[in-house]
């Protein structure tokens, strides 16, 4: 087996040479082997067990918190009259945001022919799906009477009523629902050939049947690949505007209201940049341990991490620019309420949340201007965690500081979350990590077929396009 032990530096910036996307001495078979052995080995690494058991424990806690909420009512949360949205919607926006990197990596980078995506796209897509599941949970449970949550959907009911399509909250239902469905399709479609690989290698009957069912009888036919590549390209083209629309629509929940601090046109682009920012950070948070546990450093190379850190730097700076623009516009508008809200964010009762957000999102990622920082693995792991903390606080700042003090001082109040809300937030991580651990164990975590398409070839090609390996999964002619 040709896995490398030490880090191989393929992060050089010479524009005349393309960095190899797979390092080490790999053949097609060793790539298959490197990925499939993760699923095939009878035992899982110790770290996997820690993630899985921890995840399940937190998930059980989530179940308990939700049951408590359902049977007692939303009063178990700390929401009050001006602050009707607290941790619930903060968590919703946070998780939806995380979910954006997956589709960005799989769709947008695909269209831009950024071949480095192949090492991490499966991973990032899985992350997207689980993050969107976590996100969908929160609007579902925050409605108070959960058994009436079906009012969210245009279903015929005994009152002869229909939902109100002018409401951005309803747009949200359609946007996030579509996003989840399309991400799932994208993920699954990409996985079918790899499931077939696992099926063909399976030693036990259960594995054979299990993978066999989901591989749908894929046999690598060239005629099938032809339509497959078309469909994949079109899915990427569809997901690209979709990914931009989803967080824009989420931002409409705020931007279309009249509340100072929410009512701004900068929200859609600023939310999208923030979403990509947090999603990329989450990919790093997950990829760094995964490449160590499973020793796939030669497929998720240093180059991949380097490029993602550049994305973090770019989107983090965009977000910082948006914070400053917002502040400037609040002052420039001459609107007292607007100006008050922004001063209140920085110096009011929640000043600490604003400054945590600003430090983690804007100041800390600036270190990525330096290449040593972008390629320092422990450092990037820590920064990715800080960015996620910062992005969680961004949503908290937007929601709580705007709500708690709006027009009438007589109606102001502060919000402090209860222990139930803290545990529910922790529980949502349990949901995420449980799914993620199961994914690591049972599904191909790297897009095997795609990686084979971008591998550096040992022997020279007849047509003269060896070397960096032309993407085989690129647009069909």
């Amino acid at each position: 087996m040709a896995t490398i032990v030490h880090e191989f530096d393929n992060t050089f910036e010479d524009p005349q040479k393309r960095p190899p996307l797979v390092v080490g001495d790999h053949s097609f078979h060793t790539v298959t082997e490197a990925v499939c052995r993760i699923n095939e080995s009878p035992t899982a690494p110790a770290l996997w067990w820690i993630i899985f058991v921890g995840g399940v424990a937190l998930l059980a806690n989530l179940g308990a918190m939700i049951a408590y909420l359902f049977f007692t009512g939303v009063g178990v949360w700390g929401l009050n009259n001006p602050v009707g949205w607290g941790f619930d919607i903060t968590n919703f926006v946070f998780w939806v945001g995380i979910g954006h990197a997956g589709t960005l990596i799989s769709a947008v980078l695909f269209l831009f022919r950024q071949k480095w995506r192949t090492g991490i796209n499966r991973f990032a897509e899985a992350m997207t799906i689980f993050a969107v599941i976590c996100a969908l949970l929160f609007p579902g449970i925050h409605v108070g009477r959960v058994w009436l949550a079906f009012y969210l959907f245009p279903l015929p009911n005994q009152m002869g009523m229909w939902p109100q399509f002018r409401s951005p909250l309803l747009w949200d239902v359609f946007a996030v629902g579509t996003y989840f469905t399309v991400s799932l399709l994208f993920w699954y479609t990409g996985m079918v050939p790899d499931l077939a690989t696992l099926r063909d290698r399976a030693k036990t009957k259960i594995a054979q049947i299990g993978y066999g069912i989901f591989a749908l009888g894929w046999n690598g036919s060239a005629r099938h690949w032809h339509r497959y590549e078309r469909a994949y390209l079109i899915l990427a083209a569809l997901s690209t505007p979709l990914v931009l629309s989803v967080h824009s629509v989420v931002s409409f929940d705020f931007a279309t209201s009249q509340l100072p601090g929410w009512h701004t046109t900068i929200f859609p682009p600023y939310f999208v940049a923030g979403a990509i920012f947090s999603g990329m950070a989450m990919v790093i948070t997950l990829a760094v341990p995964a490449r160590v546990i499973y020793n796939v450093k030669d497929i998720i190379t240093l180059h991949h991490l380097d490029v993602m850190n550049k994305c973090i730097l770019a989107t983090g700076s965009m977000v910082g620019f948006a914070y400053i623009t917002e502040f400037f516009v609040a002052w420039y508008s001459g609107n007292n309420y607007e100006w008050f809200t922004f001063k209140n964010r920085q110096m009011g009762p929640y000043w600490w949340s604003y400054w945590i957000m600003f430090t983690c999102n804007v100041i800390i990622p600036q270190i990525y201007w330096f290449k040593w920082a972008r390629t320092n693995i422990p450092l990037m792991f820590v920064i990715s965690l800080l960015v996620n903390v910062g992005m969680w606080f961004e949503r908290f700042v937007i929601i709580v500081t705007s709500l708690h003090a709006d027009f009438l001082p007589g109606a102001w109040d502060t919000y402090s979350p209860t222990w139930v809300e803290y545990l529910t937030l922790a529980g949502s991580f349990g949901l995420f990590f449980t799914f993620f651990a199961l994914f690591l164990r049972f599904l191909p975590i790297i897009a095997i077929a795609e990686v084979k398409g971008v591998m550096p070839r040992k022997h020279a090609h007849g047509h003269g396009h060896g070397g960096d390996g032309h993407g085989h999964l690129e647009a069909a002619r």
């Binding site: 097609f28 078979h29 298959t32 359902f70 049977f71 058994w147 002869g160 009523m161 229909w162 109100q164 399509f165 002018r166 747009w171 359609f174 946007a175 579509t178 469905t181 399309v182 399709l185 994208f186 479609t189 050939p193 077939a196 690989t197 099926r199 063909d200 290698r201 749908l216 009888g217 894929w218 046999n219 690598g220 036919s221 060239a222 005629r223 690949w225 032809h226 339509r227 497959y228 078309r230 469909a231 079109i234 899915l235 569809l238 505007p241 979709l242 629309s245 629509v249 095997i448 077929a449 795609e450 084979k452 398409g453 022997h459 007849g462 047509h463 396009h465 032309h470 085989h472 069909a476």
Partner: protein, 423 residues
Amino acid sequence: MSSTTGTMTATSAHPKTHAKPVSMVLHGLLAEFDDDHKLVAACKKVRDAGYTDWDAHSPFPVHGIDRAMGISMTKLPIFIFFCGALGTATGVIMQWWMNAVDYPFLISGKPFWSLPANIPVIFELTILFSALSAVIGMFAFNGLPRHYNPLFRSERFKRATDDRFFISVLASDPRFNLNSTRSLLESAGAAAVERVDDTSESEAPPRLFIWAHAILLCLALIPIAMIYRARNAPIDYPRLHVIFDMDNQEKYAGKQAANPAFVDGRAMRLPVAGTVARGMLRQDPALTDGRVGDRWLTVFPANVTIDDALLKRGQNRYEIFCAPCHGFDGSGNGRVTDVARERGLGWVEPKNLHDEDVRLRPVGHLYNTVKNGIRTMPPYGDQISGESDRWAVVAYIKALQRSQRAAPGDVPTEKKDELNNRK
């Protein structure tokens, strides 16, 4: 088909799974290649030899193979386009029908149907329909899912999803000939050529499998039947609810049990000694109940003075509480009644207040109707609280009734001119 493709009987390659011999037929030939360039070159040869019923198999899409095999551009994008257009149409029609036609929503005086607010949903549905059709269409055009494929009988073929490249030529191809096709594939650079057989008849699934499904299906019906019964069978206790105390509140009324919260075990507190609850004094039954003994009042009680102010008040209350059903003129054409008629809902029509029997009712009876309701009409005593408001409504009904059957003599002298000048 050539003469070499006859049926033959052989013991199966998998003696474990089939105890008795199964008759096998030739399915085709499978050629293995060890790299993708050899595969592309061989594909060109097979294509040029005029084969039609054949395919190449590779672990990843091979560059340039479409042209080498002569695969023409798929129609999938056209299919996706039409499905996407269907999504757009669904978005437009659904929102228009739901919010502008079937249940018009008036939001801040905006038009019932105006495109901008509806664009996000239209956009999302377009994407949703296109993406679903892309994936479903791709698999359907590929003839997948197809979990059984005779090629899977070949051990060698397992590497088609790992690191080997294959060409399969099927016996159903008109040019197929066991010998010449084999030599064509070999000359095209195949590392190995193998014959693939298929069973001549499809194998029935194991008995156990069928029984397990039948039993599962029956078991699955039980919960459905139980839900049906729970919803429809007559019962004398409250129906099950997901969260019980939200729909049926916990309270002592009708519980026939002592309330542990109070020493005397009563659930309801007695009023403080010497006090009377609001509206409970009833010193003057003529005023509060509209009757004396069991006789309805025929004239307004003494302390109700009928003047302009009272009638105006009566009109105001009537138009809020009574007009939705009885209509502004009392003839029973209120908005709610109209909607109920349009939709053909089963609905007891409100009485026309100008009917003979209503006109002849004593005022005390009308008062009682307002306060306590009558037959299917609900009581309005709680909404129209205070005796004087209720009498005001009665006075206004009387005025309405008179207005509908007025004689010229009823018009006051100062308004006569107005009437005469009207054409």
